[in-house]
Subunit: 337 residues, 2 copies
DNA sequence: AGAGACGATGTGACCGTGCACATACAAGGA
DNA sequence: TCCTTGTATGTGCACGGTCACATCGTCTCT
């Protein structure tokens, strides 16, 4: 009876070496594609590997090389649709390149919390970090921490010197606003995201740019918190003032809440007021009225982030991507004046 | 000039020992809360740790203990709201217990893909796996693979013998259906999820149970794919037959699409037809009409999964949770007949 | 008082890799 | 022919922890 003794130890590089009749170092060379290996020898080793069902021990490798082949994701998003979609792209791209991914969700964005999160990821010896912390504050903390580790932020802060990338939020917001202007609206309100979110600022800037260029009046933006609930309250508040005919909302959730608020207040969309959102979440095409919005490719954003990060890690030329295009999806909620 | 020499090596356990004037083993004992350490000695060591800003090397620890303090998440969800929310709960709970989390997204659910994903996680030496692979098929593959690793599935398959848990989908679906019955509806249609999804089956069963119990006719369920787009098509199709007055939809996305389809077909909700969804996604409260649905606490589900998994890993008594309660949220889309 | 038990600490080996260096042999140039 | 150069492989150690065992002193029981 060949009962496995206690805890069958996994085969190691030396077991493979013994079976193949070579030294453990030769096995290591085969595993790492070292050039100076005779094809014949290589075949013997690969055979032995197959026979033993050998798998390299990543912990041991990480110990000796100080590289873990693992990327960290630092996420400070409350479960927004966009960032979540990007994470999928990040993971896929990372796995493709042979990296695994360790995700860390930030509950608070205090400098302390960010610091401890970064330390945690450092302890795990991740080789690089993708930051999905859209708050301006987070960004500053990161820069100030003198992280000794390559990292990429999915958001571009104005005047940032680190390597970052993002869909062109400003252009997207500008397109959306220009769309409303093109429909004949001249009094356009903006419901923005929280003050310290980078995207919120970018989208607001796009809105302001478009209005300024068209010589139209701007309104002080209303600061929201991304949630549909806030959009609803905003809709009820806005119903009191009727000095506008269109609203550009910084994300779809708030826009959908806004539609609800308007509906309850007796304001018809798009007859009385046109509404345009941002993100193109899956239900945007199905709410009533269907929501005009700005589409962006979140997973692709994540994939690009990984490519940039890996180039940084490997010391290769960092690829320069053009800004990721956003697309306006025109639907029922925006109509000519 | 105190330029860092080449690559400043991180302080190791022996550096700490030297500074504290003890042996490296004593430091190790302090780190692992060994009982036999004099408070005085412990203080010295902790001081040295603080001075050197020492952090244990997780790879080294993993190498010698064959434990990584890392959990794996095997996700086979296309980005559904529910599973994604659960992942957040999983990560939080895991971090709290000192475990990090490595997520792996499955693109396909073929046995080969699942197998290679499991091997990948095994290579990373995760101590246990949380499976979010709601497809029945995945579940069978997992059982058949004789995984030598603790794992928990977030979904309960009928007659499963592994450790699993889940919100009580059947009860939730039953409550939703009973709600419609209570409103006076007797012809209630069900739009289900894909055939091999565990949740889809559970929700359908709850629907069937409620109808059978009330001695009402059942209809062959319509098989959807969870997407809002499908819901829209279903709405247009259903508009042709008018042999029903209520629809219970297996998730909110499809329900919202259905509302859209009905709207386009001239069917009024809830005047002509009542609709109830499932999941209570954030916009459900704001679409037109606002959507009655079944709320469930996804993050809590993830947290429970982690507790069960850790108990399994540590060889402790596995906690028995009662089924997670679901709550019916009654809104505009369901009304008396 | 002597022996055993226990508490507090130290010593050395080992986990599975990769790296630096050594070695052996073949090929090529002076 | 001898030395240099390059290719293919082997040897020993280091990485940073934990584990098993040894050691030493103190306390307690007979």
């Amino acid at each position: 009876m060949s009962t496995a003794s206690e805890r069958a130890r996994m085969p190691s590089i030396r077991d493979v070496a013994r079976l193949a009749g070579v030294s453990h170092q030769t096995v290591s060379r085969v595993l790492n594609d070292h050039p100076s290996i005779r094809p014949e020898t290589k075949a013997k080793v690969l055979d032995a590997i197959a026979v033993l069902d050998y798998r390299p021990n990543l912990a041991a490798r990480a110990l000796v090389t100080s590289k873990s082949n693992m990327l960290g994701i630092l996420a400070a998003t409350v479960g927004e649709f966009g960032p979540t979609s990007s994470i999928v792209g990040i993971e896929d791209a990372a796995r493709e390149e042979g990296y695994s991914v360790s995700t860390l969700n930030l509950s608070a964005t205090t400098p302390e919390a960010i610091g401890s999160a970064l330390r945690q990821l450092a302890r795990e010896q991740v080789d690089g970090i993708v930051v999905l912390a859209p708050q301006v504050r987070t960004f500053h903390v990161l820069k100030g921490m003198a992280v000794e580790m390559p990292f990429v932020s999915l958001q571009t802060a104005s005047g940032s010197d680190g390597v970052t990338l993002s869909a062109d939020q400003v252009a997207g917001a500008r397109t959306a606003t220009e769309h409303l202007i093109g429909l004949g609206h001249s009094d356009i309100i903006h419901i923005a995201g929280p003050q310290d979110w980078i995207e919120a600022e970018s989208r607001m800037r796009g809105y302001l740019d478009a209005l300024r260029e068209a010589d139209l009046p701007t309104f002080p933006p209303i600061r929201g918190d991304w949630t549909a609930d806030f959009g609803y309250f905003a809709g009820q508040e806005l119903a009191r003032r009727r000095d506008f005919t269109a609203v550009f909302v910084a994300n779809d959730q708030m826009a959908i809440g806004l539609l609800h608020g308007f509906r309850d207040a007796g304001i018809r969309v798009p007859e009385d007021v046109s509404v345009v959102g941002f993100d193109d979440i899956p239900v945007a095409a199905h709410v009533a009225p269907t929501l005009s919005t700005v589409h962006q490719d979140f997973p692709e954003l994540g994939r690009r982030a990984v490519r940039i990060l890996l180039a940084q890690i490997r010391g290769e030329q960092v690829p320069q991507f053009g800004p990721l295009q956003t697309t306006l999806r025109t639907r029922e909620s925006s109509a000519p004046r």
